[in-house]
């Protein structure tokens, strides 16, 4: 392990809730996909992880939630600290128990289970009474009223937006402190997107859930986050407060589609501009 970070203790409420320190990920033992990614999410924050297709956003989230193994991926360097504890020896199940839950790209609902069964399974790791579970279920339905109407429908038959809600609601049933939310905007109409991001904001404010939000939709993600990282080709090429990123000319040009040269990414930026960025 390189980068011995300050592994404080779970009681230290001052450090970030989550930090990844210089992590490297290799698939199939040979394909190097993350080439030293560092990021952190403060307690109560919403942090955006931005980047184009194949930049490594999903891989980063899976590395954090430890579900890379099932895909022959491996963290070969660096460390991940959640709530003051180095997570290397923990299983995905341990992490969920500690309140770190991932909502995967593409929803991944249990298609043949009803919406309500999906939600109830979200509480798998909780040892709580029926009444407590019921209460959490009602709370989830309060955030997602549409799901209540669809609760006896098989998740395979509901709309994409409702599936996204089911996936987030299912994570909410685990009483998370932090949700790794992967590309919630995928395939959603603008109005639905606004609705879902609105709920993310509310969960953040009212339930004190912190978010690490991986998105290709730079505009929406920056609008709903406090801080952002831009990932390109397995490396963080830029980071900053979300308002600053929104104003940044490179971001405008390459990720918000506001420049005159089209969206090609930082790699194609002129040499002097790259130098300028690295130096700043």
């Amino acid at each position: 392990m390189t980068d011995a970070t300050t592994a404080t203790g779970p009681d230290d409420a001052s450090g970030p809730l989550l930090s990844a320190n210089n992590i490297e990920v290799v698939y199939n033992r040979v394909i190097l996909v993350l080439k030293g990614v560092s990021l952190s999410v403060p307690r109560g924050g919403i942090t955006a992880l931005l980047g184009a297709n194949g930049a490594g956003k999903t891989t980063t989230l899976k590395a954090i939630s430890h579900i890379l193994k099932g895909e022959r991926g491996e963290v070969t360097r660096g460390s991940i600290v959640y709530d003051g504890t180095e997570t290397e020896s923990l299983t995905p199940s341990d992490l969920v128990r500690k309140g770190l839950v991932q909502v995967m790209e593409g929803r991944h609902c249990f298609e043949h289970l009803t919406v309500e069964e999906n939600l109830l399974l979200g509480a798998y790791t909780r040892s709580e009474s029926r009444a407590e579970r019921r209460e959490q279920l009602d709370k989830t339905y309060a955030y997602f009223p549409r799901l209540r109407d669809r609760r006896h429908t098989q998740a395979g038959y509901i709309s994409g937006g409702e599936q996204q809600m089911t996936a987030i609601g299912r994570a909410l049933m685990a009483r998370p402190r932090m949700i790794l939310l992967d590309e919630p905007s995928m395939g959603l109409a603008p109005q639905l997107l606004a609705e879902i991001f609105g709920i993310v904001d509310r969960l953040n404010r009212e339930e004190k859930v912190s978010f690490l939000l991986a998105e290709q939709n730079t505009h929406a993600a920056l609008k709903h986050s406090d801080y952002g990282y831009i990932l390109e080709n397995g490396r963080v090429v830029m980071e900053g407060a979300s308002e600053q990123l929104t104003e940044n000319s490179d971001v405008k040009e390459f990720y918000l589609g506001l420049g005159e040269s089209g969206r090609r990414g930082f790699r194609d930026a002129k040499h002097y501009r790259r130098r300028k960025r690295w130096l700043s």
Partner: protein
């Protein structure tokens, strides 16, 4: 009229004996759905469970105790299989996992026979084996009881899958491994649970089959009948296993009685495979093969 009664008699006899095929197929389907493994050892598990049951019985235990002990043994087996075999094979191609279950089959067969011997054990559970007249139709009382036991077991499993957290988790894992991982369901718990349930199913099948044929090596061959059942019903469907079993049971008896005379008998043994091949050609996923949900 007599013709019709005779037909019904054959049909009902076939359906009743088919429930046993359903049961064995169910064991396969459960494991296949939860882990994508075709468990070659399922038939041997039937034999192993029956041998253990009879062995404990012969030590002087009452039947209920013997059943509980055997069930405990099957659960331990489930733990051992997960711990010592499959945990080390995560991410291996399915063929490798399949090979592992072949190894397991021979290991279990050897273990069972080393502990309990190779002679045929008589198993008498006191189920009456006489003919019973239902109006003008003669049915086997034994088959009737066996079918009732299977029906009860299937209903019980249905309740387990619908209403318990573990049951839902099993269905969830069958649907989407990754989603299950992402919400913290530990796959090895689920594997142990599903192998335990399959062990329980094997025990019931072993008791029924064993009290019909005697507990001996040949009862593991009942697994061979489960293969056409699954091809017909679909590898991933519990209702498919049940209906498939009934179809195989009924059709093999009807074929034997009505077509047998023309081809010199013995039809019962290969007719189900022929039927399965036909189904494979027409509908490769089986009658109930997992309907892929596609939204419009």
């Amino acid at each position: 009229m007599d013709e019709l009664y005779f037909f019904l008699e054959v049909l009902i006899g076939g359906l009743l004996s088919g429930t046993l095929y359903s049961l064995v197929a169910l064991g396969f389907v459960l494991i296949y759905k939860a882990s994508g493994i075709f468990n070659f050892a399922q038939g041997t598990m039937v034999l192993f469970a029956a041998l253990t049951f009879v062995g404990v019985l012969e030590l002087g235990a009452p039947a209920l105790l013997a059943a509980v002990v055997t069930l405990a043994v099957m659960v331990v087996l489930a733990f051992a299989v997960e711990r010592f075999i499959f945990r080390h094979m995560v991410n291996q191609p399915q063929v490798i996992l399949f090979m592992a279950t072949i190894g397991l089959a021979y290991f279990l067969e050897g273990l069972g026979q080393t502990i309990w011997g190779t002679e045929v054990h008589v198993l008498d559970l006191g189920i009456p084996d006489r003919g019973l007249w239902l109006g003008p139709i003669l049915v086997s009382q034994f088959d009737l009881v066996a079918a009732a036991v299977v029906a009860l077991l299937v209903a019980g499993l249905g309740v387990f899958f619908r209403t318990t957290t573990m049951g839902r988790a099993l269905r969830g894992v069958a649907d989407d491994h990754q989603a299950a991982l992402s919400i913290g369901i530990p796959l090895h718990h689920v594997w142990v649970a599903v192998w335990s349930v399959a062990g329980f199913v094997a025990l019931v099948a072993g008791l029924v089959w064993g009290s019909k044929l005697g507990v001996q090596f040949s009862i593991s061959l009942v697994a061979l009948k489960a293969i056409p059942v699954m091809i017909i019903g679909g590898f991933t469907s519990i209702p498919g296993a049940i209906v498939g079993g009934l179809i195989v049971g009924a059709s093999e008896k009807l074929a034997e009685v009505y077509l047998g005379p023309f081809v010199g008998g013995g039809l019962e043994n290969w007719f189900p495979y022929m039927l399965a091949m036909l189904v494979l050609m027409v509908r490769p996923e089986g009658i109930f093969g997992e309907k892929i949900i596609e939204r419009v």
